[in-house]
């Protein structure tokens, strides 16, 4: 298969464009599940957060978690959707052991939110991606396949953990407005940022609280007609999304070039092998036999309620970006970095409460802090380094108490130990010597001990100055302020 990083260019060369729509599942961070009062959890021992309702025991009935409805409406409003007056739950019927009722309560023709739009920025071009709908549904349990490969095929047997079963999900469906994997990535990042600002999900892709499926097809450039699409599933990272889409686009292009037809099917992204494989064909697709769930009465949503949700919307990434640019004079690029999650922006603003140099603050958050968090596999919100502490450290750099190079060492120690910058600087005696009197003593001592070099300098060998400065730095264990040392030494000589 062709290896290339410029897929849009490759497509354009052959006169094609990619047409991509995403379906994103977001686990909502409500306390209890969508239709019962079992707790929403992650990583707990199997089947410890279950009850008769989420186990689908005979006779049990679902009751809607109104908090989940609020959260879903917030998502819809943040994406510019219309909120329905009247919304209904449907049953999606299919058999699978991770689904205790063998139907999933979802929404069908009457979703809570519809017709929204998200603006994304790719290479400084703004593009609008339309949102078809945002609807509510329940998550399934998790299957653990025992046997070779951990896949269902070839498994000896499978175990089911129902802790996740019934967790509230919002499904966000985009129109096929995306034209490249880069746009898809930017769209998903923007969406994640919005969700994090709303505080409705932790959006952890590895833990599955943000999941993405894609519909992909190709068509001749500028053609109004859509080509035959495939649905690609199981992309659980941004990198996976980009790779899977690029793979699928090239796969389809090669089929077309070879005169073969693209088959409508569902394909599975295999991140280990970097390929998509066929999961099921159109003929094998389920008939979900959707019908209105008779156990749940339709929800009538008053305009007052919608207004209340609207009023509770927090500042969203676009608005915050504008504010950060005008209030702190940060660059467009930096503002995008700072609004990738609510935690990023909050962190920056908290640093700025005790510190004045925005560019320096951004550089440290983007550099040292992000590097340490990444290495630790931690989110910004989980940073062990408090923003006030970082501000303290940066202040020491700004006022010349420590050098930038030392500050990095101090940062690492702060991050590891939780000590404050002044504590570490004191303990290690790292404080830079900048006082004229203190430095004069050192300078005098070095002049006294190095008369040869002093004579050389005085007789015109200017290089001798460097030697003398080096001696002073050595004597001060590197703590002397080199600029000041130079200044005083010249004077004395």
């Amino acid at each position: 298969m062709t290896e290339t990083n410029n897929i849009p260019g490759l497509l354009a060369k052959h006169g094609f464009e990619a047409v991509i729509g995403l379906e994103i599942h977001v686990e909502l961070s409500t306390l209890s599940k969508m239709f019962c009062d079992s707790a929403v959890t992650f990583g707990e021992p199997p089947n410890t957060h279950v009850c008769p309702v989420c186990l689908g025991l005979p006779g049990t009935l679902p009751v809607v978690n109104r908090k989940a409805v609020d959260y879903c409406a917030l998502i819809g409003l943040a994406l510019g959707c219309e909120i329905a007056d009247f919304t209904q739950f449907h049953r999606k019927n299919y058999f699978y052991p991770d689904m205790p009722k063998n139907y999933q309560i979802s929404q069908f023709d009457l979703p809570l939110c519809s017709a929204g739009r998200v603006t994304v920025n790719v290479d400084d071009n703004k593009t609008d991606i339309r949102i078809t709908r945002v609807h509510m549904e329940e998550d399934t349990g998790k299957l653990v396949h025992i046997g070779e490969g951990g896949r269902i095929a070839g498994a000896k047997y499978s175990l089911v953990d129902f802790n996740r079963a019934g967790t509230p999900l919002a499904e966000i469906v985009s129109e096929p407005d995306i034209r490249s994997s880069g746009e898809a990535r930017a769209f998903l990042q923007k969406l994640r940022s919005i969700l994090l600002h709303l505080g409705v999900s932790d959006c952890n892709m590895e833990e599955g609280s943000l999941r993405c499926d894609a519909n992909v097809s190709l068509r001749p450039e500028n053609s109004p007609k859509l080509g035959v699409k495939t649905e690609v599933k199981n992309m659980n990272s941004f990198r996976g999304l980009v790779r899977a889409l690029d793979y699928e686009i090239v796969r389809q292009l090669e089929l077309i070039q070879d005169g073969e037809a693209v088959k409508q099917e569902t394909r599975h992204w295999d991140a280990a092998r970097n390929i998509t494989t066929s999961l099921r064909s159109k003929e094998e697709a389920h008939d979900y036999r959707y019908f209105a769930d008779p156990d749940l009465v339709p929800l009538k949503l008053s305009r007052e309620w919608v207004k209340k949700q609207e009023e509770s919307l927090p500042e969203l990434p676009d608005a915050r970006q504008k504010r950060l640019i005008s209030a702190f004079k940060v660059s467009e690029y930096d503002s995008r970095f700072l609004t990738q999650s609510k935690a990023h922006g909050d962190y920056f603003e908290q640093v700025m409460e005790n510190f004045g140099d925005a560019k320096m603050a951004v550089n440290w958050i983007m550099g040292e802090l992000s590097a340490h968090l990444n290495a630790d596999n931690k989110e910004m919100a989980e940073s062990p380094m408090q923003p006030e502490r970082l501000a303290q450290l940066l202040t020491l750099v700004e006022d010349g108490s420590i050098s930038g190079k030392m500050a990095k060492e101090v940062f690492s120690e702060m991050y590891e130990t939780g000590k404050t910058a002044p504590e570490i600087v004191d303990d290690r005696g790292l404080k830079q010597i900048s006082g004229d009197d203190e430095l004069a003593v050192l300078v005098d001592q070095v002049i006294g001990e190095n008369q040869t070099a002093v004579e050389e300098y005085r007789s015109g060998k200017k290089q001798a100055l460097g030697f003398l400065v080096g001696q002073i730095m050595r004597l001060s264990k590197g703590q002397a302020n080199p600029g000041k040392v130079n200044e005083i030494l010249r004077e004395k000589l």
Partner: protein
């Protein structure tokens, strides 16, 4: 005296007067069950130990509580599709073999809260699908009036247990007539409340938009008592309505005078036995003599009710019953190879033929491409039926009809002809589709077998139904007198 013959009202009076204890009464019922249930086969599970323990508790409460609940210490039976904590709940299906619910249905909690003693679980058509209790995968229940005949269904076990004095009262469920039709066949009172009046939480769903739990009792007063006990808003059931029920016992005194009765002519159509028609004619005369007005009316959509029901109910059932797959509880096929095979074998072995028939009907009706023609169309019919009733209730307070077109038929008479079986619910199905309350009361005998009169009322107007039923009952003075050897 034979304590098991008491009504709820009589038993409660004796218990409160300390003439008898709940343990004595419960023992009397358990002995009666032991004596006659070999013939009647009403019970799938008899909870002797549990019942006696509950009776002891009730006696303690009776000793201390001055104005305790009416049901305190009264032994009742429960249809085996209602979940009882720690007591097997089988729905008379093999697929639920070994299933013991870890929770009580809301109605069971309510009954236990009142201090009622639950003596056991009664037989039914598998998953409440049927009209004769012959579709039970466990046993065939006999009609106490003639053991060669069916008790009706699907709450046949509950109806037979009350008629045979094996319980003072019972709880059943009604999806298309499953309380009223067996009540009519067994000569007892059966009430299907308004949809949403009684919580469905813990009732194993057959057709969720139609199912409703209700009482089967020896008389109308007892029905009012049991209804009161199980009624009330339940936050565990979204379809349970926030409604403050009136005092049903008080409403019994209102009588019939001035009430307007409509007789939908379609409910006396062909297939209705002459003797039943005569019985109902007598009731019309009786109503008029008591000061009620009676006039003929028409439910123009009546002929579509049965077909619509046999689309909607199986469609919902096909989805409701999909959870029975052997993965988590109940029967699981041995020797299955892989997941799909396990599903197929488990369900093939676990479900009986009528349940399979309805799952297939319902699955078909919901299939893409057929949905509009079947399920969509049936829902439209349902809307029209509701409108029909709404129109009728602008003119009338109550509507009356025979509960069933025939009296109890012989065991085996209709098992090979599902359509004939379905027709025995022709008079009861419309009120389920409309969600309105309806009662069946015994009004006489035809060929030695009970005849039931159905009285239907407006949404939440159980009071008027009960008051009319009570007034008629007083005049008819029907006696439950099946002769059982033993």
């Amino acid at each position: 005296m034979d304590l098991y013959k008491l009504t709820i009202e009589q038993a409660a009076a004796k218990l409160k007067a300390k003439e008898i204890t709940s343990v004595e009464l419960t023992k009397s019922i358990l002995d009666r069950i032991e004596k006659v249930d070999g013939q009647v086969k009403a019970f799938l599970f008899i909870d002797r130990e549990g019942a006696l323990a509950q009776a002891k508790e009730a006696d303690k409460r009776l000793a201390t509580e001055k104005d305790g609940p009416i049901l305190l210490g009264v032994p009742v039976a429960v249809k085996d599709n209602i979940c009882t904590k720690g007591v097997p709940t089988t729905c008379a299906s093999k697929i639920l073999n070994g299933f013991v619910p870890p929770y009580d249905a809301t109605v069971i909690k309510a009954l236990k809260g009142e201090g009622a003693v639950i003596v056991g679980k009664t037989n039914l058509d598998e998953f409440a699908m049927g009209s004769s209790t012959e579709n039970s995968e466990k046993q065939v229940t006999g009609n106490p009036w003639d053991l060669k005949r069916v008790p009706g269904g699907s709450s046949g076990g509950s109806a037979a247990s009350v008629a045979a004095d094996e319980a003072i009262g019972a709880i059943g469920s009604d999806t298309g007539g499953s309380i009223r039709q067996p009540a009519a066949f067994c000569g007892v009172v059966g009430l299907k409340p308004t949809y949403g009046l009684v919580s469905r939480y813990g009732l194993v769903a057959f057709a969720s938009s139609l199912d409703q739990i209700g009482p089967l009792t020896k008389n109308v007063t007892d029905a009012a008592i049991m209804l009161q006990a199980i009624t009330g808003h339940d936050t565990s059931d979204s379809t349970s309505l926030e409604y403050q029920p009136p005092n049903y016992l008080d409403s019994l005194k209102k009588g019939i005078k001035g009430l307007k009765f409509g007789i939908p002519k379609e409910l006396f159509g062909e297939g209705c036995q002459d003797e039943i028609r005569d019985s109902i004619q007598n009731m019309i005369k009786l109503i008029e003599s008591l000061g009620g007005e009676v006039a003929e009316t028409s439910l123009s959509t009546f002929e579509y009710a049965l077909p619509a029901y046999y689309i909607i109910a199986p469609a919902e059932a096909s989805s409701n019953l999909s959870r029975f797959d052997g993965v988590r509880y109940g029967h699981r096929a041995k020797d299955a190879e892989g997941m799909i095979d396990s599903y197929k074998k488990t369900r093939a072995e676990g479900f009986g033929s009528e349940v399979k028939r309805r799952i297939m009907l319902g699955t078909y009706a919901l299939t893409a491409g057929y949905y509009d023609a079947y399920y969509g169309q049936a829902q439209k019919v349902r809307t029209l039926i509701i409108k029909d009733f709404t129109d009728a209730f602008e003119k009338f307070d109550l509507l009356i009809s025979p509960t069933t077109p025939t009296t109890a038929f012989e065991i085996g008479a209709k098992t090979d002809d599902p359509l004939q079986m379905y027709l025995s619910d022709v008079c009861t199905i419309p009120s389920n589709l409309a969600g309105i309350p309806a009662i069946s009361i015994p009004v006489g005998l035809a060929g030695g077998l009970p005849v039931g009169l159905q009285i239907m009322g407006k949404h939440f107007d159980e009071s008027t139904i009960l008051s009319a039923a009570r007034a008629l009952e007083k005049e008819v003075d029907f006696k439950i007198t099946p002769e059982l050897a033993g």
